[in-house]
Symmetry: C3
Subunit: 138 residues, 3 copies
Amino acid sequence: MKSYRAELWFEVPSRRGFINITSKVRRCLEESAIREGLCLVNAMHITASVFINDDERGLHQDFDRWLETLAPFDPSGYKHHQTGEDNGDAHLKRSVMGREVTVAVTDGELDFGPWEQIFYGEFDGNRPKRVLVKIIGD
Amino acid sequence: MKSYRAELWFEVPSRRGFINITSKVRRCLEESAIREGLCLVNAMHITASVFINDDERGLHQDFDRWLETLAPFDPSGYKHHQTGEDNGDAHLKRSVMGREVTVAVTDGELDFGPWEQIFYGEFDGNRPKRVLVKIIGD
Amino acid sequence: MKSYRAELWFEVPSRRGFINITSKVRRCLEESAIREGLCLVNAMHITASVFINDDERGLHQDFDRWLETLAPFDPSGYKHHQTGEDNGDAHLKRSVMGREVTVAVTDGELDFGPWEQIFYGEFDGNRPKRVLVKIIGD
């Protein structure tokens, strides 16, 4: 069994944003030279997500507006803020969108349906944060 | 390390619905002849889910009603619809229910608790769509 | 390829609660002697979650309050209760927080960002319930 590990760094220059990281993950897979296996991609921070969906700008605006409805930014509204933080909403938003995806690796490729793309979802940005790519297989 | 791949096709004859796919995944596992490992099951489409819960009809009605409250079908209410689509709600519903499950394989079986069953969740049906089963192990 | 399996039992003495299980999972990883691979940790029950977030008491209160808003406890409000159950809310809450996490194993350690901790989330407690730890790798 082979294994491969890489960290990807992102700095979103605003509080929230989505970045298509598919090509970066694909490059990791090429470097790994793994042909059959599983590829885990996870946010290493607890106010960010990695998820799979469509690369469509309007949809991303819908995600943002919807998450703000489910778990609004509110500097005074969360118990977590008694620690001095103001990002309680980001922890909740990340819980909806998820920490990680596991992608099948088949014949050296990310084994995707027609519209699947991997995104980094930032909910408390303006700082550098990391995504872990771990691939195991043969 | 062995690996196995299969696609399962489903066509839900309505906009939304849940299908118990446990027996189909179990058949894949038998075909794979893998005894110890991990089994990834994921929707290959971005308006559908694969998730694990109970096979109880009332619960599924609760899921459907609840998801409709969190992210209502609304042909005119999503930015995504400027592309000509009407399924913005389906992308959001799938985000709540999740894209994938990873199931432990132990002694040649899906290693499940007493009530765990795997479901395909359709949120934009009336068309054939795919689920990927990828199993790695020995 | 090596594989390892363990069950962890928890009994939360209230309806809902969160338990940090990171050290227990770490002990499993040590027992497995696996240095490179993937570690799956999943709830074996469908009214409980395993998720990764921060070990901060205020945040956990926020999670609890927020989940109660999204999917309130309501003994008479769910179709699922026609079976005699009263835990429809717990199935929905678990869907938001997720069934499982997959954690990279690197150099014999859980490959975590600075604040990542693994939690068992109970939404229908007062009974013993299980978490599965399955590790594969070399």
